[in-house]
């Protein structure tokens, strides 16, 4: 097993509709064998002579050893690039780079883990659940979405988890509300030792805060932020930057792709996402009109 990512032409096995999302299975043995939970892949979209130059970064739902090694992705086909992906058929080829980014850190001991997934990002916590279960951990799920159709994996969570809770904003499935409303209760009921999360930024932010209130460590994947801001996935384009403070207390702008997507929740300055905090390393010290033309 090697840590370096590979670039490969992967063959599409299936593309399925799963509630509001698409699930795509690709044959990519070299990526499957290197993959660790929390990592993602960067896909070229639009074919060989495409006018779309930005790669789409999508978290890996699970890898299997079928057909020599397959990689399964779950995504919302809401923009032209992912819509193109959704239109692929069996045996189509897709240029894939992966596995990329830092994976979830795993506990050394068999502890109780709470896995929180929101929207299509919820898919990424299942690969983690597999690994944790194999290590003898207890695994509890909280899955969230705007409506029932946007909760991914509720049945699978029931099957493999020690417990699972579902919360939707419109109350069409499980409890009505957001993760913020149910998480404190679930943490108390399950006696969780660590909270993992992947999903919308607002969800990760409340997750981190609540875990912090209980004195628990949190590991979150900022996959959604990466999908919205990333262009390359490999750490060269410098477009998916977010403020993170280090052990030394200094805030640095780090790359969601190469320095994440999994980060310690308490290290991310959630309230400052999309800004350069004034005290960040290298932040502009004087805001002047003269800096207006910088590119």
């Amino acid at each position: 097993m090697s840590d370096t990512p590979v670039q490969t032409s992967a063959t599409v096995l299936t593309v399925r509709q799963v509630q509001d999302y698409r699930a795509m299975t690709l044959v990519a043995p070299a990526i499957a064998e290197r993959f660790r939970p929390g990592q993602f892949v960067a896909l070229a979209v639009g074919g060989e002579h495409t006018s779309r130059l930005v790669r789409r970064c999508i978290g890996v739902h699970e890898v299997k050893s079928d057909y020599g090694g397959t990689v399964e992705l779950v995504f919302a086909d809401t923009e032209p690039g992912t819509a193109w992906l959704a239109g692929r058929r069996s045996r189509d080829q897709i240029d894939l780079v992966g596995p990329l980014g830092r994976p979830f850190r795993l506990p050394r001991d068999p502890v109780t883990c709470l896995l929180v997934g929101g929207g299509p990002g919820g898919a990424a916590v299942f690969a983690l659940a597999d690994t944790l279960l194999r290590r003898g951990c207890r695994v509890h799920f909280v899955l969230a979405g705007a409506s029932a159709r946007q909760v991914f994996g509720s049945r699978m969570a029931q099957r493999i988890g020690d417990s699972s809770a579902v919360v939707t904003e419109d109350g069409s499935m499980g409890e009505k509300g957001t993760v913020r409303d149910v998480l404190p209760r679930v943490i108390e009921e399950t006696g969780a030792d660590v909270v993992y999360g992947c999903g919308p930024t607002a969800l990760l932010r409340s997750l981190t805060q609540i875990a912090g209130d209980f004195g628990l460590p949190s590991q979150v994947s900022v996959e959604e932020f990466l999908q919205q801001t990333g262009a390359c996935g490999i750490g060269v384009c410098m477009t998916c930057m977010l403020p993170v403070h280090g052990e030394d207390g200094v805030t640095r702008m780090v790359r969601a792709c190469a320095d994440g997507p999994v980060l310690r929740g308490d290290r991310v300055r959630w309230g400052d996402l999309g800004t350069i905090p004034f005290d960040a390393l290298g932040a502009p010290r004087v805001l002047s009109v003269s800096e207006g033309g910088l590119q």
Partner: protein, 326 residues
Amino acid sequence: MSERVTTTLGPLELPNPVLTASGCGGTGRELAQFFDLTRLGAFVTTSVMAQARAGRPTPRVTETPSGLLTAMGLPGPGVETFLERDLPWLIEQEVRTIVSVAGSSVEEYGDLARRLRNVPGVAAIEVNVACPNVEDRGRMFGWHPAAAASVVRAVRAHARPGLPVFAKLAPDVTDIVTIALACVDAGADGLTLINTMDAMAIDPQTLRPALTGVSGGLSGPAVRPVAVRCVYQVHAALPTTPIIGVGGISTGLDALEFILAGASAVAVGTALFHDPAAGPRVLRELEEALAARRIGRLADAVGLAHKPAGYVPPQVRPQEPEKEKL
């Protein structure tokens, strides 16, 4: 590596003409995961500035038709960290390295050249003149011949004698040839053409500019015809000045187009975001393209488009294996 593709850029000799474009190859470590960087003609660093800079807030990139619009705000670790952490790694890997420098004052450019003066292993300096000049109301150095020349002169004065200095020019100026002439007069050994073009996109959902920085730099295949025009015009005016062609190169034929226009080397930029291994691929495709046209040496193709119609470049006989195929 075949001798067919060796190239010279003034005093700089390179085994092949394919470079990375400044700002597109990270620190080098990221691309090294996908191919051996020594296979490049040279690696051009992200522009180094005196101080660490966080750059602009996100979103600082947006996808446009066949292009990319970026307003990064020149993020970087600053020259100190660059000299301690990034440059030694490149030199250790024996990667031919061209260091791009950027400043907000003439003094900063000169200072950076001085900091690089005694650093062994630097192949050349590229002067990014597309920086706002804080001493002149933030207008870009590259917009004015005198301002562009002043930063080139400052770099030339402080750089190690004999170290090649290239000036990287912006295309969206009244007359790029005048600026090219001013830079060469100021001591530039060569020119890199082109930097990004100032452009803008508005998000129809938010009804606001798509980038935090409002306007940004357009790159990618969308700007290639502009870049080819710039290379052609400057080569026509300054036929002996070496040119590094940049702008939307993603295939070997794209690279050939720049070479025919007058570039002696090409740099791959935005394509690296799409295909991290684009560098070696473009080189392979360029070698194939030259062979298919029976052009023996890359140098024979440089500026060929300027020759009168009917001019035939020196031809090589088809190679033995090709005969067998026939």
